[in-house]
C-alpha cells in the first residue's frame, strides 16, 4: 500500500491532497488532549483566556499515555475514543485546528466543521500503544500537569503511522469501508 509522509504544521495544500483510507506517516509536533483538557480549553475560552497552544494548523492527539518507564520518553500511547471530544472539536477547528488523531466515528457536526474549515481526522490504531510510542522522539507536559494522564503534552513524532478517516471533502472511511465489505 502506498504511504505518504506528511508533517506538522499541516499546510492547506497537503490537506487537500489527503484521501480517505490512505496511510500516512506523520512527523513534527503534535499535542495530546483528552476530555478533561478539552473541557478546560472551553472554560478558558469562555473566560477570555489564552489556550496552552495556538490551534492554527496544529494537530491534536486524543491520547492518555501510560506512565513512561525509566529510560523511555513515553509509555504506551495509543488513541482514545474520539467521540467524547465531539462536543468541543468544532470550536477548536474554527480556531484553526487542522488535524485530529483518535479512534472511532465522529459526529456529523464535527464532520461538517472539518469540511467547512478544511481539516482532517486521522485514525491511529487502537491498542497499538507500544508501536505508536516508537514514533515519539520526545514529550513535554505543557499544561494541566496535575491531571496526570489527562495533561496536555507536546510530542515530537517521527513517522507516526496513521490512516485518513475523514478527509476535508466529507468522505468517511467508516461508511465507505464497511459498505464495501458488508456481505
Amino acid at each position: 500500500m502506498e504511504i505518504r509522509r506528511i508533517k506538522t504544521p499541516l499546510e492547506a495544500g497537503v490537506i487537500e491532497e489527503l484521501k480517505v483510507g490512505e496511510k500516512v506517516l506523520l512527523s513534527g509536533s503534535i499535542y495530546t488532549a483528552r476530555d478533561a483538557a478539552h473541557k478546560r480549553f472551553m472554560d478558558t475560552l469562555r473566560d477570555g483566556g489564552t489556550l496552552p497552544f495556538d490551534m492554527v494548523n496544529q494537530v491534536i492527539y486524543y491520547c492518555g499515555p501510560s506512565p513512561a518507564p525509566p529510560g523511555k520518553v513515553i509509555g504506551a500511547c495509543g488513541p482514545t475514543t474520539s467521540s467524547r471530544m465531539d462536543a468541543y472539536a468544532p470550536k477548536l477547528i474554527s480556531l484553526g485546528l487542522k488535524g485530529m488523531i483518535g479512534k472511532g466515528k465522529r459526529s456529523q457536526t464535527v464532520k461538517d466543521a472539518m469540511k467547512q474549515y478544511r481539516a482532517v481526522y486521522f485514525g491511529a490504531t487502537g491498542g497499538a500503544g507500544a508501536l505508536l510510542s516508537k514514533s515519539v522522539l520526545s514529550s513535554e507536559i505543557i499544561a494541566y500537569e496535575e491531571m496526570g494522564p489527562e495533561a496536555v503534552m507536546r510530542l515530537e513524532v517521527r513517522d507516526m503511522p496513521l490512516f485518513v478517516i475523514n478527509d476535508a471533502n466529507g468522505n468517511d472511511l467508516y461508511d465507505f469501508g464497511m459498505s464495501e465489505y458488508k456481505r
Binding site: K23, G64, K105, L132, P149, L173, F176, M178
Partner: protein, 279 residues
C-alpha cells in the same frame, strides 16, 4: 489441608498483571497471524500487521501493549482442600494489583463513578472467587480495557425470542460498538442462569482459548454461525472495513428460569491480555 500463604497469591497477582500487559499470548498472536490471510481489505491487513508489530515491540522493548491497562479482573479458583493463611485473600489480591500496576508502569484507570476521582492504585480488583475440588489455587487475570467493556450488555429477552433473538442481540451489540472496541474483537456470550450469572458466563466465555470450540456440538455450531455473521458485518479491523471483525466467539450456556431468557454479551478487544498461574 494444604496451606497457601497470602503472600504467594499477592506475588502471583503482581507478576501476572505485568506479564499480561507486556506479553501477548502465543494463542492470540497465532490467531492474528492467521487472520491476515482471511482479511480481504488491504487496509485491514495493514492494521493487523500493525497489531502484530505492536505485540512484538511491547514484548521486546517492554512497553505495555495498550495504554489502557484495564481494570484488574481476577478469577481465583480455590481448591476446597486449601487453607489460605497469613491474612485476607481479597486484601492480598488488591495488594498484588497495587504493586503490579505501580512497579510495572501500568496506567491506573479505576475511579469513583460520579466524582471520577482516580483511586490512585487501580484497586479494587474485580475479584471472582470460586471453591473447586482439589488442593490447588488457580489464578487467572484479564486486565480489561474500558473501550471494549463499554459495548457489553445484559438483556433479559422474552423466551419466545429464542435463539434468533439472541443472535440479533449479539449482532446489534457488535454493530453498535463498530470501531470503538478496537476490532478485531473477541465476543463472549453468556446465555441462561439469571441476570448476574449470564454476565459472568459471558466473561468466562472470553477466557476460553481462541480457536477452541465448545465441547457441546450445538454450541460449537452456534459459535461458528455467530462468528460468520459478525464477519459479514463489514466492520473489519479498526472499523475501517473488512472481513475480519471478530477473531472468535465463545458461548457459554446454562439453564434459566421458565419465565426468562437472560443473555449477556461481553466484548473484548484484540489486546486480549490474559494470563494464569496455578499454585
Amino acid at each position: 489441608m494444604r496451606e497457601v500463604h497470602v503472600d504467594r497469591i499477592m506475588g502471583a497477582l503482581e507478576e501476572l498483571f505485568v506479564d499480561a500487559n507486556y506479553n501477548l499470548s502465543q494463542n492470540v498472536l497465532d490467531i492474528l497471524e492467521g487472520s491476515i490471510e482471511k482479511e480481504e481489505s488491504p487496509v485491514g491487513k495493514e492494521v493487523i500487521r500493525e497489531l502484530i508489530r505492536n505485540a512484538n515491540v511491547a514484548r521486546d522493548e517492554h512497553i505495555p501493549i495498550c495504554q489502557d491497562t484495564g481494570l484488574a479482573v481476577t478469577f481465583i479458583e480455590v481448591g476446597q482442600d486449601v487453607h489460605i493463611v497469613g491474612g485476607s485473600l481479597s486484601d492480598a489480591v488488591d495488594e498484588g494489583v497495587r504493586r503490579g500496576y505501580e512497579k510495572g508502569y501500568l496506567r491506573k484507570s479505576a475511579c469513583h463513578p460520579f466524582s471520577r476521582k482516580n483511586t490512585g492504585d487501580n484497586t479494587p480488583a474485580i475479584l471472582h472467587a470460586k471453591i473447586v475440588p482439589g488442593d490447588k489455587v488457580k489464578i487467572t487475570v484479564l486486565p480489561k480495557g474500558g473501550g471494549s467493556e463499554n459495548y457489553g450488555e445484559v438483556r433479559m429477552l422474552v423466551p419466545s425470542q429464542g435463539k434468533e433473538g439472541m443472535k440479533a442481540f449479539v449482532l446489534e451489540m457488535v454493530t453498535k460498538g463498530g470501531p470503538n472496541p478496537c476490532p478485531p474483537i473477541i465476543v463472549g456470550v453468556g446465555i441462561g442462569g439469571n441476570l448476574e450469572t449470564s454476565a459472568l458466563l459471558s466473561k468466562e466465555a472470553l477466557m476460553e482459548p481462541l480457536g477452541k470450540r465448545n465441547p457441546d456440538q450445538a454450541l460449537a455450531a452456534l459459535e461458528v454461525e455467530l462468528l460468520d455473521a459478525i464477519n459479514k458485518s463489514g466492520i473489519g479491523p479498526q472499523g475501517y472495513g473488512g472481513t475480519v471483525t471478530a477473531l472468535d466467539v465463545h458461548v457459554k450456556m446454562m439453564p434459566c428460569h421458565i419465565a426468562s431468557l437472560p443473555v449477556a454479551v461481553n466484548i473484548q478487544c484484540h489486546a486480549h491480555r490474559i494470563k494464569e498461574m496455578i499454585i
